[in-house]
Protein backbone atom coordinates (compact mmCIF):
# COMPACT_ATOMS: atom_id res chain seq x y z
CA UNK A 1 0.00 0.00 0.00
CA UNK A 2 2.78 2.41 0.98
CA UNK A 3 4.64 1.53 -2.15
CA UNK A 4 1.62 2.39 -4.28
CA UNK A 5 1.27 5.79 -2.58
CA UNK A 6 4.94 6.48 -3.13
CA UNK A 7 4.60 5.58 -6.77
CA UNK A 8 1.71 7.99 -7.16
CA UNK A 9 3.75 10.78 -5.58
CA UNK A 10 6.67 10.04 -7.87
CA UNK A 11 4.41 10.07 -10.92
CA UNK A 12 3.01 13.47 -9.90
CA UNK A 13 6.54 14.84 -9.45
CA UNK A 14 7.52 13.49 -12.86
CA UNK A 15 4.52 15.08 -14.52
CA UNK A 16 5.29 18.40 -12.85
CA UNK A 17 8.86 18.18 -14.12
CA UNK A 18 7.66 17.61 -17.66
CA UNK A 19 5.29 20.57 -17.40
CA UNK A 20 8.09 22.83 -16.12
CA UNK A 21 10.47 21.83 -18.92
CA UNK A 22 7.84 22.18 -21.63
CA UNK A 23 6.76 25.55 -20.27
CA UNK A 24 10.39 26.66 -20.56
CA UNK A 25 10.52 25.54 -24.20
CA UNK A 26 7.29 27.35 -24.97
CA UNK A 27 8.64 30.56 -23.51
CA UNK A 28 11.73 30.24 -25.66
CA UNK A 29 9.66 29.88 -28.84
CA UNK A 30 7.54 32.86 -27.87
CA UNK A 31 10.63 34.94 -27.38
CA UNK A 32 11.91 34.19 -30.85
CA UNK A 33 8.45 34.65 -32.26
CA UNK A 34 6.78 37.08 -34.59
CA UNK A 35 8.80 39.94 -35.94
CA UNK A 36 6.49 42.86 -35.88
CA UNK A 37 7.29 46.18 -37.45
CA UNK A 38 9.31 48.43 -35.26
CA UNK A 39 7.62 51.65 -34.34
CA UNK A 40 8.96 54.71 -36.03
CA UNK A 41 8.59 58.36 -35.47
CA UNK A 42 8.28 60.93 -38.19
CA UNK A 43 8.61 64.62 -37.78
CA UNK A 44 6.65 66.88 -40.02
CA UNK A 45 6.86 70.55 -39.42
CA UNK A 46 6.81 71.30 -35.73
CA UNK A 47 4.77 68.20 -34.92
CA UNK A 48 6.35 64.87 -34.09
CA UNK A 49 4.05 61.90 -33.74
CA UNK A 50 4.40 58.14 -33.89
CA UNK A 51 3.52 57.23 -37.44
CA UNK A 52 2.64 53.73 -38.47
CA UNK A 53 0.94 53.55 -41.84
CA UNK A 54 -1.22 50.60 -40.94
CA UNK A 55 -2.64 52.39 -37.93
CA UNK A 56 -5.71 54.52 -38.37
CA UNK A 57 -5.33 58.19 -37.74
CA UNK A 58 -6.04 58.98 -34.13
CA UNK A 59 -9.42 60.55 -33.80
CA UNK A 60 -9.17 63.91 -32.22
CA UNK A 61 -11.98 66.26 -31.42
CA UNK A 62 -12.11 69.19 -33.78
CA UNK A 63 -14.21 72.00 -32.44
CA UNK A 64 -13.93 73.91 -35.69
CA UNK A 65 -15.89 71.27 -37.50
CA UNK A 66 -19.02 72.13 -35.56
CA UNK A 67 -21.37 74.49 -37.38
CA UNK A 68 -21.04 78.10 -36.41
CA UNK A 69 -17.60 77.77 -34.89
CA UNK A 70 -15.48 80.88 -35.18
CA UNK A 71 -12.60 80.38 -37.59
CA UNK A 72 -9.55 81.94 -36.08
CA UNK A 73 -5.84 81.01 -36.10
CA UNK A 74 -5.74 81.56 -32.37
CA UNK A 75 -8.48 79.11 -31.52
CA UNK A 76 -7.86 75.84 -29.72
CA UNK A 77 -7.62 73.46 -32.76
CA UNK A 78 -4.21 74.81 -33.73
CA UNK A 79 -2.90 73.18 -30.58
CA UNK A 80 -4.19 69.78 -31.65
CA UNK A 81 -1.33 67.86 -33.28
CA UNK A 82 -1.84 67.04 -36.93
CA UNK A 83 -1.42 63.29 -37.55
CA UNK A 84 1.80 62.97 -39.49
CA UNK A 85 1.84 60.36 -42.26
CA UNK A 86 4.49 57.66 -42.14
CA UNK A 87 6.46 58.86 -45.13
CA UNK A 88 9.69 57.21 -43.95
CA UNK A 89 8.26 53.72 -44.37
CA UNK A 90 7.09 54.64 -47.87
CA UNK A 91 10.58 55.88 -48.67
CA UNK A 92 11.94 52.52 -47.48
CA UNK A 93 9.56 50.67 -49.80
CA UNK A 94 10.71 52.78 -52.74
CA UNK A 95 14.32 51.93 -51.92
CA UNK A 96 13.33 48.26 -51.83
CA UNK A 97 11.83 48.56 -55.31
CA UNK A 98 15.13 50.05 -56.49
CA UNK A 99 16.93 47.02 -55.08
CA UNK A 100 14.50 44.61 -56.74
CA UNK A 101 14.89 46.27 -60.12
CA UNK A 102 18.67 46.11 -59.73
CA UNK A 103 18.52 42.41 -58.88
CA UNK A 104 16.28 41.83 -61.86
CA UNK A 105 18.70 43.54 -64.21
CA UNK A 106 21.64 41.51 -62.91
CA UNK A 107 19.98 38.10 -62.83
CA UNK A 108 20.10 37.23 -66.52
CA UNK A 109 23.89 37.45 -66.63
CA UNK A 110 24.12 34.52 -64.19
CA UNK A 111 22.29 32.06 -66.40
CA UNK A 112 25.43 30.99 -68.27
CA UNK A 113 25.53 28.90 -71.40
CA UNK A 114 25.81 25.12 -71.72
CA UNK A 115 27.90 25.55 -74.84
Amino acid sequence: MRTTTRHRILIVISAALVVVVLAGCGRRVDFAGPDGPSPSSVTVGATSLPGQASQPAPASPDPTSSPGAEASPSTAPTDTPIPSPDLASIEALLSGIDTDLGDDAASAANEGNPQ
Partner: protein, 263 residues
Protein backbone atom coordinates in the same frame (compact mmCIF):
# COMPACT_ATOMS: atom_id res chain seq x y z
CA UNK B 1 19.35 -0.41 -2.97
CA UNK B 2 15.95 -1.33 -4.39
CA UNK B 3 14.34 1.50 -2.36
CA UNK B 4 16.67 4.07 -3.92
CA UNK B 5 16.02 2.69 -7.33
CA UNK B 6 12.29 2.85 -6.75
CA UNK B 7 12.48 6.44 -5.45
CA UNK B 8 14.59 7.64 -8.32
CA UNK B 9 12.77 5.79 -11.06
CA UNK B 10 9.90 8.26 -11.32
CA UNK B 11 11.90 11.52 -11.48
CA UNK B 12 14.45 10.00 -13.81
CA UNK B 13 11.75 8.74 -16.12
CA UNK B 14 10.13 12.16 -16.08
CA UNK B 15 13.41 13.87 -16.78
CA UNK B 16 14.17 11.52 -19.64
CA UNK B 17 10.72 12.10 -21.07
CA UNK B 18 11.08 15.87 -20.77
CA UNK B 19 14.48 15.84 -22.46
CA UNK B 20 13.24 13.59 -25.23
CA UNK B 21 10.39 16.04 -25.89
CA UNK B 22 12.38 19.23 -25.51
CA UNK B 23 15.60 18.39 -27.33
CA UNK B 24 14.15 17.83 -30.80
CA UNK B 25 12.30 21.15 -30.51
CA UNK B 26 15.45 22.99 -29.45
CA UNK B 27 17.62 21.32 -32.05
CA UNK B 28 15.08 21.57 -34.87
CA UNK B 29 16.65 22.98 -38.02
CA UNK B 30 15.12 25.94 -39.80
CA UNK B 31 12.48 25.11 -42.36
CA UNK B 32 14.76 25.81 -45.28
CA UNK B 33 17.66 23.69 -44.04
CA UNK B 34 17.18 20.94 -46.57
CA UNK B 35 20.76 20.43 -47.62
CA UNK B 36 20.68 16.89 -46.29
CA UNK B 37 18.36 16.03 -49.17
CA UNK B 38 21.02 17.03 -51.58
CA UNK B 39 23.62 14.80 -53.14
CA UNK B 40 26.34 17.31 -52.33
CA UNK B 41 26.03 20.41 -50.18
CA UNK B 42 27.17 23.49 -52.08
CA UNK B 43 30.48 24.71 -50.74
CA UNK B 44 30.46 28.22 -52.10
CA UNK B 45 28.03 31.09 -51.77
CA UNK B 46 29.12 32.35 -55.19
CA UNK B 47 26.24 31.84 -57.57
CA UNK B 48 27.47 33.69 -60.64
CA UNK B 49 28.44 31.97 -63.86
CA UNK B 50 32.09 32.52 -62.94
CA UNK B 51 31.77 29.87 -60.23
CA UNK B 52 31.80 27.15 -62.87
CA UNK B 53 34.32 28.72 -65.25
CA UNK B 54 37.09 26.29 -64.34
CA UNK B 55 34.77 23.31 -64.72
CA UNK B 56 33.84 24.44 -68.22
CA UNK B 57 37.51 25.07 -69.09
CA UNK B 58 38.19 21.47 -68.14
CA UNK B 59 35.37 20.34 -70.44
CA UNK B 60 36.83 22.34 -73.34
CA UNK B 61 40.25 20.86 -72.70
CA UNK B 62 39.07 17.30 -72.24
CA UNK B 63 35.44 16.45 -72.99
CA UNK B 64 35.43 13.40 -70.77
CA UNK B 65 32.41 12.03 -68.97
CA UNK B 66 33.85 13.02 -65.59
CA UNK B 67 34.50 16.60 -66.70
CA UNK B 68 31.02 17.02 -68.22
CA UNK B 69 29.46 15.63 -65.08
CA UNK B 70 31.56 17.97 -62.90
CA UNK B 71 30.41 20.97 -64.93
CA UNK B 72 26.82 19.83 -64.55
CA UNK B 73 27.17 19.35 -60.81
CA UNK B 74 28.67 22.82 -60.49
CA UNK B 75 25.86 24.42 -62.49
CA UNK B 76 23.23 22.64 -60.43
CA UNK B 77 24.89 23.41 -57.10
CA UNK B 78 25.11 27.13 -57.73
CA UNK B 79 21.46 27.12 -58.69
CA UNK B 80 20.57 25.36 -55.46
CA UNK B 81 22.41 28.08 -53.53
CA UNK B 82 20.48 30.69 -55.48
CA UNK B 83 17.19 28.96 -54.71
CA UNK B 84 18.04 29.03 -51.01
CA UNK B 85 18.72 32.76 -51.28
CA UNK B 86 15.48 33.34 -53.15
CA UNK B 87 13.57 31.32 -50.58
CA UNK B 88 15.03 33.65 -47.95
CA UNK B 89 13.84 36.67 -49.93
CA UNK B 90 10.33 35.25 -50.07
CA UNK B 91 10.34 34.33 -46.39
CA UNK B 92 11.67 37.70 -45.22
CA UNK B 93 9.68 39.91 -47.55
CA UNK B 94 7.17 41.65 -45.30
CA UNK B 95 5.20 43.03 -48.20
CA UNK B 96 4.51 39.84 -50.17
CA UNK B 97 0.89 38.76 -50.12
CA UNK B 98 0.24 35.27 -48.82
CA UNK B 99 -0.93 34.15 -52.25
CA UNK B 100 2.21 35.44 -53.95
CA UNK B 101 4.49 33.96 -51.30
CA UNK B 102 2.78 30.60 -51.70
CA UNK B 103 3.04 30.70 -55.48
CA UNK B 104 6.72 31.65 -55.38
CA UNK B 105 7.49 28.98 -52.80
CA UNK B 106 5.82 26.40 -55.03
CA UNK B 107 7.98 27.49 -57.97
CA UNK B 108 11.15 27.37 -55.86
CA UNK B 109 10.33 23.98 -54.37
CA UNK B 110 9.55 22.50 -57.77
CA UNK B 111 12.72 23.90 -59.27
CA UNK B 112 14.82 22.60 -56.41
CA UNK B 113 13.43 19.08 -56.49
CA UNK B 114 13.76 18.98 -60.27
CA UNK B 115 17.38 20.04 -60.13
CA UNK B 116 18.22 17.48 -57.48
CA UNK B 117 16.59 14.77 -59.55
CA UNK B 118 18.53 15.88 -62.62
CA UNK B 119 21.72 15.81 -60.58
CA UNK B 120 21.15 12.14 -59.84
CA UNK B 121 20.53 11.49 -63.53
CA UNK B 122 23.80 13.17 -64.48
CA UNK B 123 25.64 11.12 -61.86
CA UNK B 124 24.17 7.96 -63.40
CA UNK B 125 25.07 8.89 -66.99
CA UNK B 126 27.51 6.53 -68.63
CA UNK B 127 28.33 8.41 -71.81
CA UNK B 128 29.52 11.90 -72.71
CA UNK B 129 26.54 12.33 -75.03
CA UNK B 130 23.91 11.55 -72.42
CA UNK B 131 25.68 13.60 -69.76
CA UNK B 132 25.96 16.56 -72.14
CA UNK B 133 22.27 16.36 -72.95
CA UNK B 134 21.39 16.24 -69.25
CA UNK B 135 23.63 19.23 -68.51
CA UNK B 136 21.83 21.15 -71.24
CA UNK B 137 18.56 20.41 -69.43
CA UNK B 138 19.83 22.39 -66.41
CA UNK B 139 19.36 25.47 -68.55
CA UNK B 140 16.39 24.60 -70.73
CA UNK B 141 14.16 22.97 -68.13
CA UNK B 142 14.68 25.32 -65.19
CA UNK B 143 15.76 28.82 -66.27
CA UNK B 144 16.73 29.67 -62.70
CA UNK B 145 18.29 33.06 -63.45
CA UNK B 146 16.46 34.41 -66.47
CA UNK B 147 13.05 33.33 -65.20
CA UNK B 148 12.76 32.08 -61.59
CA UNK B 149 14.97 34.78 -60.05
CA UNK B 150 13.16 37.44 -62.03
CA UNK B 151 9.80 36.08 -60.91
CA UNK B 152 10.79 36.41 -57.26
CA UNK B 153 12.24 39.92 -57.45
CA UNK B 154 9.59 41.32 -59.79
CA UNK B 155 6.66 39.97 -57.76
CA UNK B 156 8.27 41.31 -54.62
CA UNK B 157 8.72 44.71 -56.30
CA UNK B 158 5.12 44.56 -57.48
CA UNK B 159 3.88 43.95 -53.95
CA UNK B 160 6.11 46.74 -52.68
CA UNK B 161 4.38 49.07 -55.12
CA UNK B 162 1.00 47.95 -53.79
CA UNK B 163 2.12 48.36 -50.17
CA UNK B 164 3.53 51.83 -50.83
CA UNK B 165 0.35 52.85 -52.63
CA UNK B 166 -1.77 51.69 -49.68
CA UNK B 167 0.37 53.65 -47.25
CA UNK B 168 0.17 56.71 -49.46
CA UNK B 169 -3.61 56.35 -49.60
CA UNK B 170 -3.71 56.27 -45.82
CA UNK B 171 -1.34 59.24 -45.66
CA UNK B 172 -3.62 61.12 -48.06
CA UNK B 173 -6.52 60.56 -45.68
CA UNK B 174 -4.48 61.98 -42.82
CA UNK B 175 -3.40 64.95 -44.90
CA UNK B 176 -6.96 65.59 -46.05
CA UNK B 177 -8.02 65.76 -42.40
CA UNK B 178 -5.18 68.15 -41.69
CA UNK B 179 -6.22 70.36 -44.61
CA UNK B 180 -9.81 70.36 -43.42
CA UNK B 181 -8.70 71.37 -39.96
CA UNK B 182 -6.43 74.11 -41.30
CA UNK B 183 -9.27 75.43 -43.46
CA UNK B 184 -11.46 75.47 -40.41
CA UNK B 185 -8.85 77.59 -38.73
CA UNK B 186 -9.07 80.11 -41.53
CA UNK B 187 -5.90 79.10 -43.36
CA UNK B 188 -5.75 79.28 -47.15
CA UNK B 189 -5.35 75.63 -48.13
CA UNK B 190 -5.52 76.03 -51.89
CA UNK B 191 -1.88 75.07 -52.39
CA UNK B 192 -2.04 72.16 -49.96
CA UNK B 193 -5.20 70.84 -51.60
CA UNK B 194 -3.53 71.03 -55.01
CA UNK B 195 -0.61 68.96 -53.80
CA UNK B 196 -2.97 66.47 -52.17
CA UNK B 197 -4.89 66.04 -55.42
CA UNK B 198 -1.63 65.48 -57.29
CA UNK B 199 -0.54 62.99 -54.63
CA UNK B 200 -3.76 60.99 -55.00
CA UNK B 201 -3.53 61.02 -58.78
CA UNK B 202 0.06 59.77 -58.74
CA UNK B 203 -0.80 57.03 -56.27
CA UNK B 204 -3.69 55.88 -58.41
CA UNK B 205 -1.47 55.89 -61.48
CA UNK B 206 1.09 53.69 -59.70
CA UNK B 207 -1.57 51.15 -58.78
CA UNK B 208 -2.90 51.13 -62.32
CA UNK B 209 0.62 50.63 -63.70
CA UNK B 210 1.13 47.30 -61.96
CA UNK B 211 -2.44 45.98 -62.04
CA UNK B 212 -2.38 42.31 -63.02
CA UNK B 213 1.39 42.17 -63.36
CA UNK B 214 2.04 39.70 -60.55
CA UNK B 215 -0.33 37.10 -61.95
CA UNK B 216 1.22 37.46 -65.39
CA UNK B 217 4.73 37.06 -63.95
CA UNK B 218 3.82 34.01 -61.89
CA UNK B 219 2.18 32.31 -64.86
CA UNK B 220 5.46 32.09 -66.78
CA UNK B 221 7.32 28.77 -67.03
CA UNK B 222 10.64 27.57 -68.43
CA UNK B 223 8.67 26.28 -71.42
CA UNK B 224 7.19 29.73 -72.09
CA UNK B 225 10.66 31.19 -71.75
CA UNK B 226 12.00 28.71 -74.31
CA UNK B 227 9.08 29.59 -76.60
CA UNK B 228 10.03 33.25 -76.39
CA UNK B 229 6.83 34.42 -74.74
CA UNK B 230 7.97 34.83 -71.13
CA UNK B 231 10.75 37.36 -71.59
CA UNK B 232 8.55 40.09 -73.13
CA UNK B 233 6.04 39.66 -70.29
CA UNK B 234 8.75 39.95 -67.66
CA UNK B 235 10.26 42.96 -69.41
CA UNK B 236 6.85 44.64 -69.62
CA UNK B 237 6.28 44.00 -65.92
CA UNK B 238 9.65 45.50 -65.15
CA UNK B 239 8.79 48.60 -67.19
CA UNK B 240 5.45 49.02 -65.42
CA UNK B 241 7.10 48.63 -62.01
CA UNK B 242 9.62 51.31 -62.99
CA UNK B 243 6.79 53.60 -64.06
CA UNK B 244 4.91 52.90 -60.84
CA UNK B 245 8.07 53.60 -58.87
CA UNK B 246 8.35 57.01 -60.53
CA UNK B 247 4.68 57.74 -59.82
CA UNK B 248 5.10 56.75 -56.18
CA UNK B 249 8.10 59.03 -55.92
CA UNK B 250 5.96 61.85 -57.27
CA UNK B 251 3.21 61.05 -54.77
CA UNK B 252 5.71 61.09 -51.93
CA UNK B 253 7.06 64.46 -53.04
CA UNK B 254 3.51 65.81 -53.22
CA UNK B 255 2.79 64.49 -49.72
CA UNK B 256 5.78 66.40 -48.39
CA UNK B 257 4.59 69.47 -50.28
CA UNK B 258 1.20 69.19 -48.54
CA UNK B 259 2.80 69.18 -45.11
CA UNK B 260 5.04 72.08 -46.10
CA UNK B 261 2.07 74.09 -47.36
CA UNK B 262 0.24 73.54 -44.08
CA UNK B 263 3.04 74.94 -41.94
Amino acid sequence: MNRYVTRLAGPLAGLALAISVAMPALAAPSSNARVTDRPVAPQSAETGAARCASAWRAVRTDRSLANVQAAGFCEIDRRLVTIDRLRGLVRDAEVLTDAHATALTRILDGTESGLMSLRREIAADTSVASASEDVRRIFTEFRVYVLVTRQVVLVRADDRVEAAALRLTHAADQLAAAIERAAGNGKDVTEAQGHLDAMKAATGAAQADVAGDADAILAQTPASWNAGTAEPILDAARASISAAHAALRTALTEARAVTAALR
